[in-house]
Subunit: 189 residues, 2 copies
DNA sequence: ATAATTTTGTGACATTTGTCAATTGAAATC
DNA sequence: GATTTCAATTGACAAATGTCACAAAATTAT
């Protein structure tokens, strides 16, 4: 099995031992992609049947509000990228676009989902992914409700310093819910 | 089986047929509670081994920031209440408190979780709960990032009008991330 | 290397929201 | 039913953030 697949699978199977059979079954629905900056993985309002795992690179998600991009998050190495909406056959609410040239694992949701009902290990594997994602969302909400702009900036800087090296400040300001001018002024202090 | 349990189970088993055996196994870890206004279900920073499903009543969650309550959401009939943190054996980040006298189903997470690894129907049942919760969180984030205060107020009013009848405006303002004075002024228009 | 484009920073001013204080209104308690 | 407590509103002013305009810096393309 490809080492990259192995790493990905290990990352989400901590709570259980997967049989080789299950691992192969999962791998059958994975593939590796090399894509360039600005490539759009998922388009807002479109159905899409893949989720992605970032091996190398950087990705952002955003949606349009009154014609303006509102950035919702950034994924770097070892992060999952996708939309639960897609997992549930609904159109994505966000556009997901590469910020750097990236290497990704694509997970074919359409193919892997039915296995949940026949293979309990797959069910728990997917469970682990969704659970981690939900925890991540809880954190994000906690973060967004907790603080004023300055606090948010400082916490984000402490928690995810790489973002400030790799993601344009314009996007980060938008994520923080402030204008880039305001972020620029916060940074000046 | 108690009709209330039946309704709860049906609510999260739409995608699969549960055998009677599985239903009984789930019910063994459910119980019904009648509790009064102001009762605290879950305390911030404490481990807790139950999640709840609201049959009748209203519940709010909040955490303390610099000694001030920050309300994070309100649950009414047919909503789940709990914390994924607890599901993962971490202390809760939020306090969960009744806003009205309420009837709830308590789900014993500690007992039901191990079944995920032996009963695939239970795995998918719990999956469905977590998935719905994650979708709810996605919506919440979308909502919170999308709009200015006035838009948020109007959308919330359109989507959840019952909240404004049943939840004090002070809590709602806090949830919207504004002071009650600002909410009061928005409403004046 | 140079030019063109994109990103970031800064100033002046408008708008929104927060803070503090006082008042009114509603609901719970006795 | 009167009293007490809590919730909601309103006004005056302060602080934070947004908007618009422009300049500087960095990045990308030719």
């Amino acid at each position: 099995m490809d080492l990259l697949y192995q790493n990905f699978i290990d990352h989400y199977s901590n709570s259980q031992q997967l049989t080789d059979h299950t691992k192969v079954e999962i791998c059958n629905h994975l593939s590796i992609l090399h894509l360039n900056k600005k490539y759009v993985l998922i388009k807002e309002n479109q159905r899409h049947y893949f989720a992605y795992f970032v091996i190398k690179g950087a990705v952002r998600s955003y949606f349009l509000k009154d014609g303006i991009e509102v950035n919702t998050w950034f994924a770097l190495e070892n992060d999952m990228v996708g939309s639960l909406q897609n997992f549930n056959d609904n159109p994505s609410k966000e556009t997901i676009e590469l910020v750097e040239n990236s290497t990704l694992i694509a997970i074919n949701l359409e193919q892997i989902k039915p296995l949940m009902f026949s293979n309990i290990q797959v069910a728990n594997f997917i469970n682990a992914i969704i659970e981690e994602y939900a925890l991540f969302l809880e954190d994000k909400i906690y973060f967004s409700q907790m603080m004023n702009s300055m606090d948010k900036y400082l916490i984000l800087l402490a928690k995810e310093p790489q973002l400030f090296q790799r993601i344009p400040l314009t996007y980060i300001a938008s994520f923080l819910g402030i204008t880039r001018e305001t972020l620029s002024r916060l940074r000046a202090k």
